[in-house]
């Protein structure tokens, strides 16, 4: 089989450790882990990758994404061993996007050097805000200075694809303070920016504070303006919104003279329903029409990483179709109607014609292109209301 015929796959590796839990986070992470725990967990990951070798056979690796938690909080040697183990089962070539999520408070020059040596070519930095009071209120462990220092280290260390996370609708945020954060970020010309709205999840300190009225969140109106401002400001400054919360540096702009596509390939895989395999505790996989999820229990996982992929969910055609829509429509260019036919052997209009027309009538969505290139996508308003709109594509 030549490389070209091989089906693409992506790999997600979950590192469930943090130095400290942020106040808004309900994610399954250990804070802070003991050295032993990290060691055993890494060993378990290596075992799981080995045991899953069959799933990687005859595949072409398009991306690796090491996420968390805070992957940069564990020794870089562990990261190196994980990537090594993957490469012993599947080729990592220069085309492969290899991302690690990093907290600006946990990076060092040495770590960055190790990452580059291990083959990492993209780093996603969790900044969230450039305003110290806002960072403190979120429970972040880093300062804005930490971020700037490490951004430079990454750049000079050879990472040419850097993504920065910022958050909107966070405590104390105003339109002015958001502009300050964005200005600081844009100055650095990162290749990619993610701008997420804070969502208050249950079982977090924020949830409790909110219930007692102690969380100084922007008002609902202000929050909406902040959210829209982020979109406008980033777009005006050379970033293209390609997904609800994700922006990539447009070709032709300073920092991207070579006309490269800096959209995150790994995340696109999620929206396009490409195959991916998740390693680690609570990691999710999609292979064909099977969705697997690993156990959420760290001890259970570490004791038997070979018995992986619990919760094997076989998607019924109607589930897969709904996913195709509600994931694909997260992208600003939406879905290609012909892809629907290729995937499900059914014309999209037979299944969704009525609801699509309904959304077009209400200016929540629109069509573009003709015939094979006909696409259906959500308008800005449709994206703002994506929860409402997308729920109408569920088929039961």
């Amino acid at each position: 089989m030549t490389n070209k015929d091989k089906k693409d796959i992506g790999i997600y590796v979950h590192i469930p450790f943090c130095v400290r839990k942020c106040f808004y986070c309900d994610f399954n992470s250990q804070v802070p882990p003991s050295e032993d725990t990290v060691f055993f967990y890494t060993a378990a990951l290596l075992d799981e990758i080995k045991a899953s070798a069959g799933l990687l056979e005859d595949r072409k690796l398009s991306s690796i994404y090491i996420g968390g938690g805070t992957p940069s909080s564990i020794p870089s040697s562990c990261i190196g061993r994980i990537i090594d183990r993957i490469s012993s089962h599947i080729d990592i070539d220069e085309d492969t996007e290899v991302t690690i999520e990093a907290n600006p408070g946990t990076l060092t020059e040495l770590k960055i050097k190790d990452y580059v040596a291990a083959g990492i070519n993209r780093v996603s930095l969790g900044l969230q805000s450039a305003v110290e009071d806002e960072l403190k209120a979120l429970g972040r462990i880093h300062t804005f200075e930490d971020f700037k220092k490490n951004f430079d280290r990454l750049y000079w260390g050879g990472i040419e694809n850097i993504s920065v996370d910022v958050m909107t609708s966070i405590p104390y945020q105003t339109q002015e303070s958001l502009i300050k954060t964005l200005d600081e970020v844009i100055k650095l010309r990162p290749q990619h920016i993610s701008a997420y709205s804070l969502i208050i999840e249950e079982n977090t300190p924020f949830y409790d504070k909110l219930r007692y009225g102690l969380l100084p969140l922007p008002t609902e109106d202000e929050s909406y303006y902040i959210y829209k401002l982020a979109q406008t400001y980033l777009t005006q400054n050379g970033y293209r919104r390609y997904e609800i919360s994700n922006y990539s540096l447009e070709p032709g702009n300073e920092g991207n003279k070579e006309e490269k596509d800096y959209r995150c390939r790994h995340n696109l895989r999620y929206w396009d329903r490409g195959d991916y395999i998740g390693f680690g505790v609570s990691a999710a996989s999609l292979i064909g029409d099977h969705r697997f999820t690993n156990t959420k229990d760290l001890n259970e996982y570490a004791s038997d990483p070979g018995r992986i992929k619990q919760e094997d969910l076989v998607l019924r055609p109607e589930d897969a179709m709904a996913e195709f829509m509600f994931l694909g429509l997260r992208k600003t260019d939406g879905i290609r109607c012909a892809d629907f036919r290729e995937s499900f052997d059914t014309d999209i209009n037979e299944v969704y014609g009525k609801v699509m027309r309904h959304h077009v009538d209400r200016k929540l969505a629109a069509f573009s292109g003709e015939d094979e290139e006909r696409r259906f996508f959500l308008t800005d308003t449709g994206l703002d209301l994506s929860n409402v709109v997308m729920s109408e594509y569920l088929l039961y």
């Binding site: 997600y12 979950h14 994610f27 994404y65 996420g67 993610s194 997420y196 709205s197 969502i199 929050s223 909406y224 959210y227 609800i244 919360s245 895989r269 999620y270 991916y276 998740g278 609570s282 990691a283 999710a284 996989s285 999609l286 969705r291 999820t293 969910l313 709904a322 996913e323 509600f326 994931l327 209400r362 994206l383 703002d384 209301l385 994506s386 929860n387 409402v388 997308m390 729920s391 109408e392 569920l394």
Partner: protein
């Protein structure tokens, strides 16, 4: 055992709520050997789960037990348990009429309360001999001497030698039993006279038909006798006679004067054997029926709708089943534009409504939407006619209305002087007219008010409790109708009139009620993709308005590590939520919105 009439004691226990009525009843049954301790389940007489949970008696119950007194003689005790809520005042009065005496239980720390008084007066009206019992003497705060004095002062019955007991701890029960023998008179009446029995309750049994609970005043009844129900003239043949064991019916040969028991007679409907009716012999009837019979009419009406419209037939079946055992529950089909098909149901009061609604949800697994309860208004029309209005939507055009009347009650409120101001304020807010004020003690006052029924059916009791920190007690009885300035308040959601939210309100309260309703609804109606005005109107004129702003942003955050299932669950929840909504025009209104307007006063 042969039963001698002078060895029968027919009595009830009366008390303010939570003063220990049911506990004492259980102790009496236990001490007289009717129940072994193993058989004891707390509060045997309160049969329904609901009764146990709420700690109140809803239906009358009766039980026979045998007590061997200190003088060596055996006595038959018929304990008739009476409902403990003002909603069931008529039933209480009939149960009392079936007794010859009453045990008055008073909490030795709390003393005389509004219900204590109301119940004592009711018992005295029925010429019952009442003797007091001071309960809960084991509580540290108990002050039996003070309470005994209070009983003598306020009620005017001898209390200094009252048994001092703890029903809970089983202290002093013997003394109560002896008192029942010596202080409660034996029944009078004669077996030689024509049959004369009082119905004090009835129960539907799917095998036996209606089981009629009776006190026999004169004569004797056996199976095979032909009997007549004097109110409706219906005649039946008695199938079975018997008395009440612990939780079961025990057939016997005959019931004669002075006894309490039951008959069955292939009666299909509890409404044919109404509480308070007199049963006599069809062959040799008595001359006059017992006094006091009346047909009770529902006082409070509301619309009851299934949350899921497909449950309509199930709701009808359930209501029919409940009605088998509840002659005072009425219902008839009605249709609402907003809520679809449902029933306009009539209840004796708000507690009755609550109980029925809860039983429908619990025992019949129905999810209900109930509209705001209203009282029965009298609408006098310009053409000289009068209608009794139970559904606000049926109010005639203003031009056809001459004037309207609303029901009022006379209420007694017992409150400590500390909260007197707050309670008087509350009564004034509710349009009360003071008719009396008596100092029971230096620190306690009995307030008498005439209050419109519609001002107390919603939340008066809650407001009373919260403004007096629980130190006020309350009782009332119907007084009659008075002329009043009333208007119909309508609610419009997105300019659409919502029939299920209309109600009748005192003219001067319309603005305040309307504003509050709009405010409440604003909190309950989810944001839509467009702006939704919520308006309150009287006679087409908008008097209050709120706006549910359009939703502008509703976005999922990132998908952590490709975990799609979590995001999908969120979308499913969103879609599920929508299905449970009622469609009013283009607005989806959740069930909670209809219910929220029932609780307008958050004090």
């Amino acid at each position: 055992m042969e039963i001698k009439q002078d060895h029968i004691r027919n009595f009830c226990i009366i008390a303010h709520i939570d003063h220990g009525k049911s506990t004492l009843a259980d102790r009496i049954l236990e001490k007289t050997g009717l129940l072994t301790e193993r058989e004891m389940q707390d509060q045997v007489l309160d049969n329904m789960d609901l009764e146990r949970e709420r700690g109140i008696t809803i239906k009358s119950q009766a039980v026979r037990t045998v007590y061997t007194a200190k003088n060596g003689e055996e006595y038959i005790f018929n304990l008739i348990d009476t409902p403990g809520h003002v909603d069931f005042n008529y039933e209480v009065s009939r149960s009392l009429a079936a007794c010859d005496g009453a045990v008055l239980v008073v909490d030795a720390s709390q003393g005389v309360e509004a219900q204590t008084l109301a119940n004592v007066y009711l018992a005295m009206d029925h010429d019952l001999d009442v003797f007091p019992v001071l309960n809960k003497i084991d509580l540290p705060s108990a002050d039996p001497d003070r309470v005994a004095e209070e009983i003598e002062d306020v009620i005017g019955i001898e209390a200094l030698d009252a048994p001092r007991i703890s029903a809970k701890a089983g202290i002093g029960i013997e003394e109560v039993l002896e008192n029942i023998v010596h202080k409660i008179p034996a029944p009078v009446g004669s077996s030689d006279q024509p049959l004369k029995c009082l119905i004090f309750d009835s129960l539907y049994d799917s095998y036996k038909g209606v089981i009629v609970f009776m006190r026999i005043f004169d004569g004797t009844v056996r199976s095979g006798d032909r009997i007549r129900f004097m109110a409706n003239g219906m005649e039946e043949e008695v199938v079975e006679v018997g008395y009440f064991g612990a939780g079961r019916f025990i057939p016997c040969d005959e019931l004669s004067s002075g006894m309490v028991g039951y008959i069955t007679a292939s009666i299909k409907d509890v409404r044919e054997a109404r509480v308070g009716d007199t049963v006599t012999s069809a062959v040799k009837p008595c001359k006059e029926a017992l006094p006091g019979y009346k047909r009770v009419n529902p006082m409070v009406y509301c619309g009851v709708y299934p949350a899921d419209t497909r449950d309509y037939p199930n709701l009808r079946d359930a209501l029919e089943k409940l009605q088998l055992n509840d002659a005072s529950l009425t219902f008839e089909p009605e249709t609402s534009l907003a809520l679809g098909f449902g029933f306009r149901c009539g209840f004796l009061g708000l507690l009755h409504l609550d109980i029925i609604a809860e039983r429908l949800e619990r025992e019949y697994d129905l999810d209900l939407v109930t509209t705001a309860p209203g009282v029965v208004y009298r609408v006098y029309k310009t053409d000289g006619g009068m209608i009794e209005l139970t559904n606000p939507s049926n109010l005639p055009e203003p031009s056809e209305i001459d004037y309207m009347e609303e029901p009022i009650v006379s209420a007694e409120i017992m409150v400590s002087t500390e909260y007197l101001g707050a309670i008087i304020g509350l009564c004034q807010e509710r349009r009360g007219i003071q008719t009396g004020m008596e100092y029971i003690e230096e620190t306690r006052v009995l307030l008498k008010y005439d209050l419109p029924l519609n001002e107390i059916i919603y939340d008066f009791f809650d407001a009373l409790k919260s403004r007096s920190r629980g130190y006020a007690s309350f009782d009332y009885e119907m007084k009659g109708y008075v002329r009043s300035e009333l208007v119909k308040l309508d609610i419009l959601i997105n300019k659409e009139y919502v029939d299920a939210l209309s109600f009748i309100v005192f003219k001067d309260s319309a603005y305040a009620r309307g504003s509050k309703m709009c405010e409440k609804l604003k909190g309950e109606i989810p944001r839509h993709l467009f702006e939704i005005p919520i308006q309150a109107a009287v006679g087409g004129k908008i008097i209050a308005r709120e706006t549910v702003k359009a939703v502008r942003k509703d976005v999922l955050a990132k998908c952590y590590g490709g975990d799609i299932t979590r995001k999908k669950k969120l979308l499913e929840k969103q879609k599920e939520g929508k299905k449970k909504m009622r469609q009013i025009g283009s607005v989806e209104v959740p069930k909670e919105a209809f219910l929220s307007v029932l609780k307008l006063d958050d004090e």
